[in-house]
């Protein structure tokens, strides 16, 4: 890979503020031709904001972007594309109801040209997908594709536009380890074809594996810039976290009785999302059970089942050795199941309700919040204030509408409202998604404390590192099927990846363990 064939892109002192938060603080760096540059940083370090500025989706408050020596006009994606910059967003920008080809050719031709040239476009897509090992059928409907395939469509979209600089925002977050390897092979081909790549990640091993050079962001500031072959993971980690890497040492668990047990439970598929396929699982007191898997493989079905949103169509669910009569969310709550929902905005809270109302959302009908059929606002407010104080929810007060809170503070309120009931069973579905590092550490500590107090915790996460760091026992879910339980440290990420790709489940395949 050539490294000194000149600079293709330069960021000069980019600053961007959102209200009081400075997302990017005078960030400058450059990208060489044929280079893979890793942009490393924790969640919330400002990586995505920076790339959105580069790609013209946000306007910087100050600073300039130069591509091939030309300054890009700010806030203009078209100009960035025309200059040869392509971006693969973390959240794909594809239209599900349209075909792969339609998605790729959108906006390529001037709008008022009379005809779409379909056959030429098709052969060009096929040629590109062959050259860059991006197998996908041009006529497939995007809504029917897997996440990995959708990402290929996004990359093809950029390549189709003859980009010279390809930006990938957290591209491996949604991939299995094997799919990630395929992606890296594609990136190698891209570099051989004289593209330059900016690879955004917070995963150190990927950065070490794929990049030529690393730029590290922390709290919006550029804190380090090194050649990859002159550094190691520990050095990068301390740069990224600022020296104080949070302790990941977890004291071993002392598991107790089984509190919740699923016996060969099957649930129906919902749309494209698979239901559970004869899943057996036991959650034991004093133990964190981690559920690893690529998003959309039955996690939602399992969470819905345990949270009471949906009953089993086959099989049995036992809570504290009793089969509940009618399985419903109320029944789940009565049985001491606390839920931290996956989507705190849509499911966990009601945006325009205040903190008090949100704090009693699950228990408004029970003592002390309801007295003789009337809501007791005094008790509710006291409870909300309690949660705010104990769980350090930063807010003006219990009368604040919850939509005004940051994600981390919203999550703290949800955490507080469920943990204050001393729940027996905690269903934590993506509990730290989108939170900053401080909030992540806080949530993890609270889950560990609940475990040590004797609760059974089910941790569902798409972040394999998180699952491996916290869980005493790990299951992998793929296509609605559940792997056997693996003890902490029993499996390497690669071995788990095989299961995540849905391969370990066949009887005739030798088990990795």
């Amino acid at each position: 890979m050539g490294k000194d064939t000149g600079t293709v892109l330069r960021l000069n002192a980019i600053t961007k503020r959102f209200g009081t938060l400075t997302a990017n603080d005078r960030v400058s760096f450059s990208l060489g031709a044929g280079e893979v540059l890793a942009l490393l940083g924790e969640n919330g370090a400002g990586k995505t904001t920076l790339m959105n500025i580069l790609f013209g989706q946000y306007m910087a408050d100050s600073g300039t972007v130069e591509v091939f020596g030309q300054t890009l006009p700010p806030g203009n994606s078209r100009a960035a594309l025309d200059a040869g910059v392509g971006m693969v967003h973390q959240h794909f920008t594809l239209a599900d109801n349209m075909t792969v080809q339609e998605n790729i050719t959108l906006g390529v031709q001037p709008l008022f040209r009379p005809m779409l040239d379909k056959s030429a476009a098709r052969s060009r897509i096929e040629a590109l997908s062959e050259r860059f090992h991006l197998a996908v059928s041009p006529n497939a409907r995007v809504g029917d594709l897997t996440v990995g395939e959708r990402q290929r469509v996004e990359i093809l979209k950029a390549l189709y536009r003859d980009v010279r600089i390809l930006i990938l925002d957290e591209p491996t977050a949604v991939l299995t380890p094997q799919e990630a390897d395929d992606l890296f092979a594609t990136l190698k081909t891209a570099v051989e074809n004289e593209l330059s790549v900016i690879f955004i990640s917070h995963k150190l091993h990927e950065v070490m594996a794929i990049s030529d050079r690393v730029v590290v962001l922390r709290h919006g500031k550029l804190v380090g810039e090194v050649q990859t072959d002159q550094t190691d993971r520990a050095a990068l980690a301390s740069m990224m976290m600022g020296g104080d890497i949070p302790a990941t040492d977890v004291v071993a668990a002392t598991p107790g009785a089984t509190l919740l047990e699923l016996h060969k439970v099957t649930t129906p598929d919902v749309g494209n999302a698979p239901g559970l396929k004869s899943v057996s699982l036991s959650l034991r007191a004093g133990q964190i059970t981690g559920l690893a898997g690529v998003s959309g493989n039955g996690q939602a079905a399992l969470a819905d089942l345990i949270g009471g949103m949906r009953g089993p169509s086959e099989g049995r669910i036992d809570v504290n050795d009793v089969v509940p009569r009618r399985w419903s969310p109320q029944e789940a709550i009565r049985n001491g199941i606390a839920r931290i929902p996956e989507d705190r905005h849509k499911v966990g809270t009601i945006a325009d309700f205040d903190l008090t109302e949100n704090a009693i959302l699950e228990r408004y009908a029970s003592h002390p919040f309801s007295k003789g059929g009337w809501l007791s606002w005094r008790a509710s407010r006291e409870f909300a204030q309690d949660v705010i104080d104990k769980y350090d929810v930063r807010c003006p007060g219990p009368d604040t509408r919850i939509r005004l809170l940051s994600g981390g503070n919203m999550q703290k309120l949800i955490l507080g409202r469920v943990l204050e009931t001393n729940p027996q069973i905690i269903l934590a579905n993506q509990p730290v998604r989108g939170l900053d590092i401080g909030a992540v550490t806080y949530v993890h500590e609270q889950l560990l404390a609940a475990r040590d107090r004797g609760a059974a915790v089910l941790l569902i996460s798409e972040d394999l590192d998180e699952v491996m760091a916290l869980s005493d026992v790990i299951h992998v879910i793929a296509g609605g099927r559940l792997s056997p339980a693996f003890a902490r440290g029993q499996m390497s990420p690669t071995e788990l990846g095989i299961w995540m790709a849905g391969q370990g489940f066949d009887e005739d395949m030798p088990h990795a363990s």
Binding site: T93, D96, E102, L106, F112, L116
Partner: protein, 314 residues
């Protein structure tokens, strides 16, 4: 059987095609708006304004085609108003749509009173006359039914083809459909979602106004306030019925029109003597509701219909 005789008659099918024409134009207009992601409930009022504007223009001495153009311009101005409020400002599409309908309807009433203060019955104009297409109109059966219509009917059918081609075969159509499916995908290509949606709503509203103008300039030769009579709302249902596809929407419009033509004729049969005529009037609507229930199960709603888009919002 009398119904069978009705269904076999050329005049019945000629009437069905004639009744379908304004519905086709209105449905096409609504379909364009919704494909771009905007529900345009202003359609009822825009059709009223188009009906009045086209007729008034011709009454004031312009040619018929100029009248159609005037109607389109009036419709497009209401469309522009609708799109400014719903697209860049992101206001509720329901509220704005109903507001536009009220504004356009009452604005038309006002304009009518202003233009013709002393009149008790509205004056007539020289409307479009049926034009028999050489050779085609000589085909027995379908010839007189399909090819002895007024020019606006031919235009309506032609526009179905044009809109289909534009939506599915041109870069512009691709962008319009993508704006209704995932505006973020459009913005990521550096195209303006705002411009695409505003353009679609404005053009679509022009089509709606043309549908209204058909009533005063082809179907009748004068203007009455009640003449649009809910056709706009029918068009909204027809878009769903047609699963947001121009060809299917055309079929839906013809089907509805056939029911309508049928019920008028059934009132005059022996059955009509025993059954209250209101039952017949209800018939096309009830049948439409049933058809809608069956058809809309498989309908593919544009995923971003009624979802405002703000650039830079996460």
């Amino acid at each position: 059987m009398e119904i069978f005789e009705i269904l076999m008659s050329v005049s019945f099918w000629a009437a069905a095609i004639r009744i379908a024409s304004p519905l086709i134009l209105g449905t096409l207009g609504e379909l364009i708006c919704e494909r771009a992601g905007v529900l345009n409930l202003g359609i009822e009022g825009i059709m009223v304004s188009g009906a009045f504007a086209g007729w008034m223009a011709v009454y004031s001495g312009t040619g018929l085609w100029t009248g159609v153009g005037v109607a389109m311009c009036v419709g497009m101005s209401f469309g522009l108003l609708h799109s400014v409020l719903t697209v860049p400002f992101g206001l509720s599409q329901h509220v704005v749509g109903l507001g536009v309908t009220l504004l356009a309807t009452s604005g038309t009433y006002y304009a009518y009173r202003l233009a013709l203060p002393e009149v008790t019955s509205p004056p007539k104009i020289e409307a479009f006359q049926p034009f028999e297409i050489p050779f085609l109109s000589d085909i027995p059966g379908i010839g007189p039914a399909l090819f002895s219509q007024t020019p606006l009917t031919y235009l309506a059918f032609g526009l179905v083809l044009v809109v289909s081609l534009v939506l599915y075969r041109t870069p512009l159509g691709l962008a319009v459909r993508a704006a209704g499916e995932n505006p973020a995908a459009v913005a990521a290509q550096g195209l303006s979602v705002t411009a695409i949606r505003m353009g679609a709503v404005t053009v679509g509203s022009g089509f709606m106004a043309m549908g209204g103008a058909f009533l005063t300039m082809s179907a009748f030769d004068s203007f009455f306030f009640e003449m649009v009579n809910g056709r706009g709302w029918i068009c909204i249902a027809l878009v769903v019925f047609g699963s947001w596809r121009p060809g299917k929407a055309l079929l839906g419009a013809v089907l509805f029109a056939a029911f309508d033509a049928l019920q008028i004729r059934m009132q005059q049969t022996s059955l009509g003597a025993d059954v209250p005529y209101q039952i017949f009037l209800m018939m096309p609507y009830i049948l439409s509701i049933l058809a809608l229930v069956v058809m809309s199960r498989r309908a593919e709603v544009p995923a971003a219909l009624m979802v405002p888009f703000n650039k830079g919002e996460r």
